[in-house]
């Protein structure tokens, strides 16, 4: 066996040095002849005679050289080379055909490779944790929070139990924190349990992880810093370990540096990893924790979920029985946890690219079929001369592969370009987008799709064998491949319709998302998130003075219509909320603990409604002078007012905050604002006045504390409405803030950018899918055009006869168009069925759009029909202008 392989290898090497081999042989024989002649000469022959004798003794040199060559021959491989050369020559002879085919294939491969490079990171590639497929996220999904969680008491309970995990850990989710040094910096802190890094299999590159003893509320503060922070802030100096830095004003010792590829399971940025110091609690109590476990070997996710059934049952105890229906158990792989809401979208894109690839292959196959039809005589001649069927099939396949190879090369270049475009237009919320690159894996994928494409393309023409009768007959027509070509065209139309309607649905969703009135007037509003550090602003009075001064300075600008402060702004991002049951209207039945979901709330300055132009529907908004008074007032959103006071006038009514909170008097009702992230589905919301907190120690702020749950008043969002350009307003804000304190960190964005951020991901999907749909339709149209033109050429003779017999040009045109439209209609019917199925699977990412949107489907079908008609019209006009005399003479 080995010897045969070695022999093939030697032959293969020889193949590359054929010339040398031949030269060596010639020289060798010549040397032999000379030696022999010399021998004869030494024996006394004349030089001429000696040479003649030597030649005669040697024999036939020419036959010899051939025999020697045969020793090295690899007939099969050389046949392939020969076919390749032949194919390449054929493709060069027909550059329009070749370039078209290569361009089509390149487009398909570029689309698939670039999209694959994006979704590969999301769906297939392993995570940067050892044995990452054994890592799972564990918890309960409830409307209270995004994503699964366990309350800390239940988590400690789980720890004490026999579990299917080898390691179990928890963390609280990344939150912002500030490095309050000379050059303040907004950082992202990840509070984790001491077991977090070991459970994920992460070791610090420098220093150590913190101990359980350091993971306590009263322990000295320690932190691990990210590789990036270590590089940028400490110049990668190992002496950073042991240094003390102020985090939110608290001295914190650096004990370790995280690896470069460290990644939080939520993919959030983490500059610091700190102890979370969650105190022990009894079950059903405590703070929500995100829990991750490492499954024991051999235990599947389903087994673990089943095994933990009793635990999950008890872990739901903190939820009100009537609300439990809304809660779900979640135990899923970290990958699924990470890509929860992009998973479907990724598969959709991936599916769409494969649809494009199919269209591309069908189109290219059609081109090849057209070519092979035109070459029937040549192929038949080859058969007549003795070429086997296998040889011709191989030839066809090689040509298809050759085209695919060129297409792939061009496609790779195009894919690199496309990927750049993706990265430019992709929103930051698509996880791992920045990591996408055309690397070995993607290239491997490209090569295999190329092969697949080549095989699919080659299949169609190879399936039809040329018949030698063609040579004898007087025309080469009416061959079965017309059927194949019609089928391919029909398939293309069907797939394009699916793509088109899918893209249409996404576009409609996008349009709705942008046109559903968000409840706020987003025009001409610039926002700035501002944070005051505890070190420079240790008490409430200093913080309030800063914000008051800032508002006063901005309002002094005549072009500023209004300037307001609030803790958060709609629609995207974080909003404070409280469980619904704490809101009690005296005289109405109490809600049970945990019942009724949540109500969002914001603390705002009086100008807030004016700055965002949120209409006050009843009563009034807050007044400036109320800020100093002790009167407790509240403004409700329309939906909350409807819910608390159905069919009643809420103005003047009192809301009690359970259990011992203040009684707030309702002074107004504001219009609903999109605050849930889903357009058109506002959560109930209430507004509290952002007011002066005179002295926290003296307890004067009890009411605010009870309602606000210790919201830090050094963090605020400034909203400025002005008719000036956004850039100018941003500069004003920067200038005024810097005039007060140049060290205050802030983030500036227009309101419009914030709103757009909500639909970024959808827009990205919609753009890509639309692009694909357009490519698909274009390809299908060109395929149809090609097919009909081809048919017209084939039927020239028949048309000539018809015309000679008196058919009008219009009739001829209809003959051609009717045929084309029949196939288009079939494609559209199949496509519609596919589109409905696709739309169903898309349902979860379509907001406010019914999946069975018939108008949209009809529009897509009509559009496609129109395009098909246009594609059919041109060749049919050509058919109607055929001169019967010429046509008949050609035969």
């Amino acid at each position: 066996m080995f010897e045969r392989v070695a022999e093939q290898y030697r032959k293969l090497r020889a193949l590359l040095q054929r010339k040398r081999l031949h030269r060596d042989f010639e020289q060798e024989v010549r040397a032999h002849l000379e030696l022999r002649a010399q021998e004869y000469a030494e024996r006394g022959a004349a030089p001429e005679e000696a040479r003649r004798l030597a030649e005669r003794r040697f024999g036939n040199r020419l036959a010899l050289s051939e025999q020697a060559g045969d020793a090295w021959a690899m007939p099969r491989l050389e046949g392939v080379f020969q076919d390749l050369r032949y194919g390449a020559r054929g493709l060069c002879r027909n550059p329009v055909f070749s370039l078209t085919a290569v361009a089509i294939i390149a487009a398909g491969i570029a689309a698939t490779s670039s999209v694959f490079s994006v979704v590969d990171r999301l769906l297939f590639r392993s995570l940067p944790y050892p044995d990452s497929d054994r890592l799972v996220s564990v918890g309960i999904i409830h409307p209270l929070l995004d994503g699964e969680f366990l309350v800390s008491g239940d988590y400690f309970h789980l720890r004490a139990m026999e579990t299917p995990f080898t390691a179990l850990t928890s963390w609280r989710g990344a939150a912002r924190c500030d490095l309050t040094e000379e050059h303040p910096q907004i950082l992202s802190c990840a509070p984790v349990e001491s077991t977090f890094l070991p459970a994920f299999g992460i070791a610090p590159v420098l220093g150590r992880n913190f101990t359980n003893g350091e993971d306590q509320a009263n322990a000295r503060k320690v932190a691990l810093i990210s590789y990036g922070l270590w590089q940028s802030r400490f110049g990668a100096n190992p002496a950073a370990i042991g240094k003390t830095i102020p985090i939110d004003g608290v001295p914190t010792e650096i004990i370790g540096v995280l690896p470069r590829d460290f990644e939080l399971p939520t993919l959030q940025r983490a500059d610091l990893v700190v102890p979370q110091a969650v105190p022990f609690r009894t079950p059903s109590q405590g703070t929500p924790l995100r829990v991750f476990g490492r499954l024991k070997n051999g235990v599947t996710v389903e087994q673990a979920r089943a095994g933990l059934g009793p635990f999950f049952h008890s872990a739901m105890a903190f939820i009100n029985p009537r609300e439990r229906a809304a809660a779900r158990v979640a135990l899923r792989s970290v990958r699924d946890f990470q890509i929860q809401d992009v998973k479907l979208a990724s598969w959709v894109l991936f599916g769409a690219t494969f649809a494009i690839l199919l269209i591309v292959c069908a189109n290219a196959a059609n081109l090849l079929l057209a070519r092979s039809a035109a070459r029937q005589r040549e192929l038949a001649l080859r058969v007549a001369l003795g070429a086997g069927r296998a040889r011709l099939v191989r030839q066809t396949f090689l040509e298809a592969l050759l085209l695919s190879a060129f297409g792939a090369a061009a496609g790779c270049a195009l894919a690199a370009l496309l990927l750049r475009v993706f990265k430019l237009v992709a929103p930051a919320t698509i996880p791992r987008m920045e990591q996408a690159a055309l690397d070995g894996r993607v290239l491997l994928f490209t090569v295999s799709t190329t092969l697949l494409c080549g095989i699919l393309m080659g299949l169609a023409p190879a399936a039809v064998s040329p018949r030698p009768e063609v040579l004898t007959g007087w025309r080469a027509s009416s061959c079965p491949r017309i059927g194949v070509r019609r089928f391919l065209t029909t398939a293309q139309i069907a797939v394009s319709l699916i793509l088109l309607s899918g893209a249409g649905l996404l576009l409609e969703t996008l349009w709705r998302m942008q046109n559903v009135a968000p409840g706020v007037n987003t025009g001409q509003v610039v926002t700035a998130d501002i944070t005051l550090g505890l070190e420079r602003y240790p008490n409430s009075l200093r913080r309030e003075k800063f914000f008051d001064d800032l508002l006063a300075r901005l309002r002094a600008n005549p072009l500023v219509a209004s300037a307001a402060l609030s803790d958060t702004v709609p629609p995207a991002g974080f909003v404070h909320n409280r469980p619904f049951f704490v809101l009690q209207v005296p005289g109405q039945p109490l809600l049970e603990r945990g019942e009724g979901g949540v109500a969002a709330w914001r603390s705002i300055s009086p100008d807030y409604f004016a700055a965002l132009q949120i209409p006050i529907l009843r009563g009034r908004g807050f007044r400036e002078e109320e800020r100093a008074s002790r009167e407790q007032t509240i403004v409700l959103s329309a939906s909350l007012a409807r819910r608390l006071f159905p069919n009643q006038d809420p103005i003047g009514r009192v809301i009690h905050f359970r259990p011992d909170g203040p009684d707030d008097t309702v002074i107004g009702v504001a219009a609903d604002v999109d605050n849930s992230g889903i357009p058109g589905h506002p959560d109930p919301e209430y507004y509290l006045l952002r007011r002066s907190v005179t002295d926290p120690q003296a307890g004067a702020n009890v009411s605010l504390a009870a309602r606000a749950l210790h919201v830090y008043d050094g963090e605020a969002c400034l909203t400025v409405r002005s008719s000036a350009r956004a850039g100018v307003v941003a500069d004003w804000i920067r200038t005024e803030v810097a005039a007060l304190d140049p060290t205050v960190p802030m983030t500036i964005a227009t309101m419009r950018q914030r709103v757009r951020g909500m639909s970024d991901r959808l827009r990205f999907n919609a753009i890509l899918l639309t692009l694909f749909a357009l490519i698909g339709v274009l390809l299908a149209a060109s395929g149809l055009y090609g097919l009909i033109s081809f048919l017209v050429v084939q039927r020239t003779g028949e048309i000539g006869v018809r015309m000679a017999l008196g058919a009008t040009p219009a009739r001829i045109a209809r003959l051609v168009v009717d045929d084309a439209l029949g196939w288009t209609a079939a494609g559209i019917a199949i496509g519609l069925a596919g589109a409905i199925v696709t739309a169903r699977s898309l349902r979860s990412i379509l907001v406010e759009v019914r999946a069975g949107n018939l108008v949209l489907f009809a529009a897509a079908a009509l559009l496609l029909f129109g395009i098909a008609l246009a594609a059919a019209l041109l060749p049919s006009l050509r058919a109607s202008r055929i001169d019967p005399i010429q046509a008949l003479r050609r035969e």
Binding site: A6, E7, R10, D24, Q27, E28, G59, N60, A71
Partner: protein
């Protein structure tokens, strides 16, 4: 002097044996050597010697290298490989078995 053609199928064996005995040799030397060691009985048909050498190169029994002869001519020298040595043993034992059998048949006649 009467000269006999080399019995069919034994050319490889003769070349291999010659190379095994004489070390590196070029084609002319191999042809002469076979002739000389067979006391001028076996005449190598030179026309088939070189194609045979090519096939042996393909099989990996010998390797070839250009060198210079004592007469200062360029010539291609052949060298036996380990595989060639093994092949020689195979062919010799096969040949002995066959000739032995043939001799027995003739002897009994």
């Amino acid at each position: 002097m009467p000269r006999d053609e080399i019995p069919p199928g034994t050319l490889y064996m003769l070349i291999l044996k010659t190379l095994a005995r004489g070390g590196e040799m070029h084609g002319y030397e191999i042809a002469n050597s076979i002739q000389a060691t067979s006391f001028q009985v076996l005449l190598v048909e030179e026309g088939s010697l070189y194609p045979a050498l090519q096939r042996m190169l393909v099989k990996g029994w010998v390797t070839a290298q250009w060198g210079t002869t004592s007469g200062n001519r360029r010539a291609r020298y052949y060298h036996l490989t380990a595989a060639g040595r093994k092949q020689l043993n195979v062919e010799v034992s096969q040949f002995e078995r066959v000739t032995g059998a043939v001799a027995r048949v003739i002897g009994t006649a």
